[in-house]
């Protein structure tokens, strides 16, 4: 909060001036530029991550069918795969990066399988910071920072596995995490309600910082909306890229022998709530919170470290890296040391 200044008196101009059109002016500028949204999907294979992304944005953004029958090699570690797309709706252009994490949780030994993810997230912050601090910097720094992590929990009805506990802990510290119950159509409504309670208790017990976050400068309606969302999380989801006939209508759904689930029916699954949450109410907040909370936290740690480094000239600093380092096949042991501990501002994510 700023230092207390007497709030200026609100005066209504006697005649219409017209500065209220600034919102339209801003909008026009923003429309030209387009918006950037980066979403990471995390969860072991076969939980419907790619299908959900395609259902959310109603477009074939992620390759899901191809992977089913290909003789793809079994991944030995978690990979990071980024798919970029540009969607347009009513003149609004949304550039999306879908960050897939094949191999996560799929090995016999899954220790530290989240490290490539953490590394990737921090690298994006690191890259942005470098560009920000460059003397001749770009007019608009391309934003590759991860705005949202969709974390897929298998519909077991049980407490979280150790892998999920550790991964959720690490990830929710550095990015906005939205947990999801995958393939929730395998649970009856009672089972879903119980599972949610179990998971919500687990989130409290382990003190995860689950998005959305409390904030003082929210309107009461926004606070109420956040409360409602929090009571829903984790969203019980089913996704579908195909349309089926239900009651004469063609809807997105899954048709089994004993009935068809309409993915967009809120009495059957919470896909619509998730979609509205991500795209219609909290899209801007996700992007903003990433910049204002997570990036800021990274930035301040880095700059403090830089100061310490500058005042202690005996410390070595690593050469400045000017490109994103692709994750090596073995997750690096150094990843989780914070940057400040070895004084490297740039590129200590190697």
């Amino acid at each position: 909060m700023s230092a207390s200044i007497d709030e200026p008196q609100l005066t209504q101009p006697q005649k219409y001036v017209g500065f209220d059109t600034i919102t339209t002016q801003i909008e026009n500028r923003l429309l030209k530029r387009g918006f950037q949204f980066n979403v990471m999907v995390v969860g072991r294979s076969g939980l419907g991550k790619s299908t959900l992304i395609n259902t959310l944005f109603s477009a074939g953004l992620a390759q899901s069918t191809g992977r089913k029958v290909s003789s793809e090699p079994i991944e030995k570690t978690t990979e990071i795969k980024v798919n970029s797309h540009s969607l347009i709706e009513n003149n609004v252009r949304l550039n999306i990066n879908v960050i897939d994490t094949p191999g996560f949780g799929d090995q016999i030994n899954n220790e530290k399988c989240w490290e490539p993810l953490v590394k990737y997230i921090k690298e994006q912050h690191s890259q942005y910071l470098r560009k920000e601090l460059t003397a001749q910097r770009e007019k608009f720094i391309p934003d590759t920072r991860v705005h949202c992590i969709l974390y897929f929990i298998p519909p077991n009805g049980r407490k979280l596995k150790q892998l999920d506990v550790l991964a959720l802990k690490k990830l929710s510290e550095i990015a906005n995490v939205v947990p999801i119950i995958a393939k929730s159509d395998s649970l009856t409504l009672e089972e879903r309600a119980d599972f949610k309670k179990v998971l919500q208790n687990e989130f409290i017990k382990y003190n995860f910082n689950i998005y959305p976050y409390d904030s003082d400068d929210l309107y009461p309606e926004e606070k109420q909306l956040n409360e409602d969302i929090k009571s829903l999380i984790p969203f019980a989801i089913a996704g579908s890229e195909t349309e089926v006939q239900i009651n004469g209508e063609l809807v997105k759904g899954r048709k089994t022998k004993w009935g068809a689930i309409n993915v967009e029916d809120v009495s059957q699954c919470e896909f619509v709530f998730l979609r509205d949450f991500l795209t219609r109410t909290h899209l801007q907040d996700l992007i903003e919170t990433t910049a204002v909370v997570h990036y800021e936290s990274f930035r301040s740690k880095q700059l403090i470290a830089l100061k310490e480094n500058a005042s202690n000239p005996n410390r070595q600093s690593a050469p400045i890296q000017s490109q994103v380092v692709p994750p090596s096949t073995q997750p690096s042991q150094q990843d989780l040391k914070t940057q400040s501990s070895n004084g490297n501002l740039f590129g200590s994510t190697r």
């Binding site: 992977r67 030994n109 077991n156 159509d185 395998s186 409504l189 089994t256």
Partner: protein, 306 residues
């Protein structure tokens, strides 16, 4: 003829049958699968009774959130259930279930733990055999057949599944099943069965083959039915399971907002088929094959060591 026997006495044939069924209708079953994949519900549905109480249905289960995470190592719990149905012989089912399978970060010890469990019973049987004074009434706790519960992922088998199935399938008759098959569309059901079957073939995983000893059988024309049945069984692998704790009238059903699933319906799942295999057609075969092949193999290994 005045009789010392009461009027309700059984004929010799009936008495023989009773004794026969008392002795032979037991089965030792091992269920391997992750927590939450539906093994207990499967047992309930298999035996048509709520042996495992579904705590969540009566709302009393919510975890104490401060309950410390108990020991999360792999365990195997064994239960003995007397399956009694009208007009059938009772079956004494000894079912062992894994707990915390594939649960930890590092699950590389899972295969060994399960194999050790199996071999332990083989050991006990072997020791008993080698005794000078043997106990004729000793219980046979060797696992006769195992079910490996897979989740339908629309993918081939992964490293963990392949390794476990190989190691376990070497030691017992192992049948792969797909748990919670009620979420699958028809296409996905077929696709997953195909993917799993081809994975099994590609990796030479030693799972149970219903047609394995077909050539040895002297198959007459009368047995065409039998052969067809076996072919159907083999083609249905892995069995797709839908189970439920919820009873509506006579049947167990699963009630979801968009439909009601009768789990006994063969069009929906292979539960009925699997039950007829476990309790009917193959109950003796699994035991024979365990004793004559799997146990025998272990016996040879063990005795050759000495």
């Amino acid at each position: 003829m005045s009789s010392l026997l009461p009027e309700t006495a059984f004929t010799a044939e009936e008495i023989r049958q009773r004794k026969f069924t008392k002795k032979s209708l037991s089965l030792n079953l091992l269920l391997i699968g992750e927590n939450g994949i539906g093994m207990k519900t499967f047992v309930n549905s298999l035996c048509k009774m709520n042996y495992f109480k579904d705590k969540s249905l009566d709302g009393s289960v919510l975890y104490n959130i401060y309950e410390e995470r108990r020991d999360s190592s792999l365990k195997i719990e064994t239960h003995t259930i007397d399956v009694v149905e009208p007009n059938t012989s009772p079956i004494r089912l000894r079912v062992s279930l894994t707990r915390n399978f594939a649960y930890n970060l590092d699950n590389s010890n899972n295969a060994k733990a399960i194999v050790d469990f199996i071999l332990n019973e083989y050991d006990l049987a072997l020791q008993e055999e080698l005794k000078i004074k043997r106990n004729p009434r000793v219980a046979d706790n060797r696992i006769h057949v195992g079910l490996y519960f897979l989740r339908a992922k629309n993918r081939k088998l992964n490293e963990f599944e392949i390794e476990n199935m190989k190691k376990i399938g070497e030691r017992i008759n192992l049948i792969p099943v797909i748990g919670k098959a009620d979420t699958l569309t028809e296409g996905e059901y077929i696709l997953n069965k195909e993917l799993i079957s081809s994975s099994i073939k590609e990796n030479n995983i030693p799972v149970f083959n219903f047609l394995e000893f077909l050539d040895d059988l002297e198959v007459s024309d009368d047995d065409i039915e039998e052969v067809t049945y076996l072919r159907i069984l083999q083609a249905s692998l892995p069995f797709g399971i839908i189970a439920s704790n919820f009873r509506q009238g006579e049947n167990f059903v699963r009630r979801v907002p968009w439909g009601l699933i009768n789990i006994e319906d063969e069009n929906n799942s292979d539960l009925k088929l699997l039950r007829s295999v476990l309790f009917g057609s193959h109950i003796q075969e699994f035991k024979d094959l365990t004793i004559n092949l799997k146990y025998e193999k272990y016996r040879v290994e063990k005795l050759s060591e000495k």
